[in-house]
Amino acid sequence: MQDPHFAIDWLEQHGDALYRYALLQCRDKEQAAELVQETLLAGMEAYGRFKQTSQMRSWLIGILKHKLFDHFRRQGKFASLPEDDDELAAFFDNSGHWQQSIAAMASPEGDLQQRQFSAVLETCLEKLPWKMRQVFIASEVLAEESEKICQDLSISTTNLWKLRQRSMLQLRACIQKHWSRS
């Protein structure tokens, strides 16, 4: 069962993808590499339970996700959940109109611009509060099911909608500021 050759193959084939997944969420290169290692070790132990019908990479990402959430839990990320309903007041007036009009923004065209745009997106993602960032990554980057996200983050559907709205509003504002200047 615990043949390291399997795991070394996984490292070759999926290591970078697992690393990028972890890095996107924890923003710490050392930590991300550590999580990949933990994932592969756990994968080696659990290989007997792997069903050939599922994709190897998704199976490993499933394990990585558990490791990641354990890590977040240890950091106490789930403990506090500040609820601030006034946040939207920065964006809308009492009648629901935009406080500030939004100017048109050029869409990124071609490889180079797309790369620059992604860099701006990542910079702005880092500025979001933890929970909003998690919600954004899960829903927009990883396209996970809403129910799954609510379960993972222990939030209600209504809460998820609010967090998605807020993260998008903040992110958009940040991106426009940085993208227009670049």
Partner: protein, 84 residues
Amino acid sequence: MLSCKDVSAIVASGELQQASTWRRINITFHLMMCQTCRHFVDQVRDIRQASRRLVDDEKAPGLSKEAKQRITEQLQKPTSNHGE
């Protein structure tokens, strides 16, 4: 009548896909009249497209050589040394 706040909530929360026909008509109507919301919708689309690329990007930096080496060594250790 939907407000800009409503429209942004529906678009940003991804609820649009599940919205009723009547709601969609209302949104279309609002967008016809509201330039800021039109810009918002366009930009959300760009952000979503870029977001999907973040994790699929095979050219993005992966594990460093050193990290790979370290992990390989760990994987080759006997199970009892894993410490868990």
